[in-house]
Amino acid sequence: MRSLIEGLRAGLPIAAGYLPSAIAFGIVATEAGLNSLWATGVSAVIFAGASQFALAGLLAAGASVPVTAAALLFINLRHALYGPSLAPRLRGLGRKRAATISFGLTDEVFALASRGPTDGQRFSFLWIAGLELTAYASWVGGTWIGAYGGSAVAQTAPSLSAALGFALPALFIALLISLLKGAGRGALVAAAVAAAVATGFHLAEMSNTGILAAAVLGPATALAAGRLRG
């Protein structure tokens, strides 16, 4: 039980970052023609922010269902790398539990799970389940608030809403520093290359493809550099 509570608490920084984005998605989805129930249902079923915003945009543009589905699945393709990366920490979990926590493997959950608990807690099913529950509740709850509350919610405290959007970059700063501390040169090279690749793709307005490319090219470059050094 303590692991579950620690996991729930560990997810709070993610929840802080998710809330404004989820509210924004609720608003955007209803403006794209979804009713509030469908908008909330999209968050509950897909639970992947980037592809959900793309869904709203494609629906508004009148894209066909097959095109929309293919685009969304491509955007989420990078999630396929997260499980194998976390697998060494999840050995002994059992297939059912692994299948259960797979649902919540979003970018941010993966990022935080990559570091794992730091307070002496074991990386357990309950810890990661708690982490995902907090993230999921804030995402679905925020969508519901945005969908039913509309833009009035965002206008209540616009500067605070904008500031909460900085929670995710701050979280990533903390996680990256934590992962790189004591890590070898390979991790530094991988992170630097990944950042450069992601920057290039972002400036080309292909951020989602850039994250996937960074996830592949970062490790590949680091491994190649390590082999060249001998």
């Binding site: 560990a10 920084p13 802080a16 469908w38 079923v45 897909i46 639970f47 592809s51 869904l55 269902v65 929309t68 589905a69 699945l73 989420n76 393709l77 396929a80 790398l81 997260y82 499980g83 194998p84 990366s85 976390l86 697998a87 060494p88 050995r91 297939r95 299948a99 797979s102 649902f103 970018d107 941010e108 990559s114 570091r115 500067s159 904008a162 500031a163 929670a167 995710l168 970059p169 701050a170 990533f172 700063i173 903390a174 990256l176 520093i177 992962l179 890590a183 390979g186 991790a187 992170a191 990944a194 950042a195 992601a198 972002h202 400036l203 960074a214 996830a215 970062g218 490790p219 491994l223």
Partner: protein, 116 residues
């Protein structure tokens, strides 16, 4: 429209779940580490995905949208707000404190920018 949307949700929801679950389940079925003498190149590559993805997510979340009006001022705001977040992260290693420091600084800067 509802039937088509339902179908879309099922396909994308199920597809996203399978993309997350199947590679994990496959990786868990691989040979246990203690049965191998040394890390394979696959193990090394997988261990580097975490820092790579987080670095990419950081950059993508910090940079404003390229076509956004006021790109450079938004970028400057994000970079300045990132400084206290970085300092708190280096000093404390606390996720919560880092997030609070970054959000608070960003909020203060945003409020200051609206002052006459």
């Amino acid at each position: 429209m509802n039937l088509a949307l339902l179908g879309l949700l099922v396909v994308v929801g199920l597809g996203t779940y399978l993309m997350r679950a199947l590679p994990l389940l496959t990786a868990l079925r691989r040979e246990q580490p203690r049965e191998r003498q040394q890390r394979t190149i696959t193990d090394e590559a997988l261990s580097l995905i975490g820092p790579s993805v987080i670095a990419a997510l950081l950059v993508t979340s910090l940079l404003p949208a390229p076509q956004e009006e006021g790109f450079w001022s938004a970028l400057a705001l994000a970079i300045v707000a990132a400084v206290p977040a970085y300092m708190v992260a280096r000093r404390t290693g606390s996720l919560g404190l880092t997030v609070i420091a970054g959000v608070a600084c960003y909020w203060l800067l945003t409020l200051a920018a609206t002052l006459p």
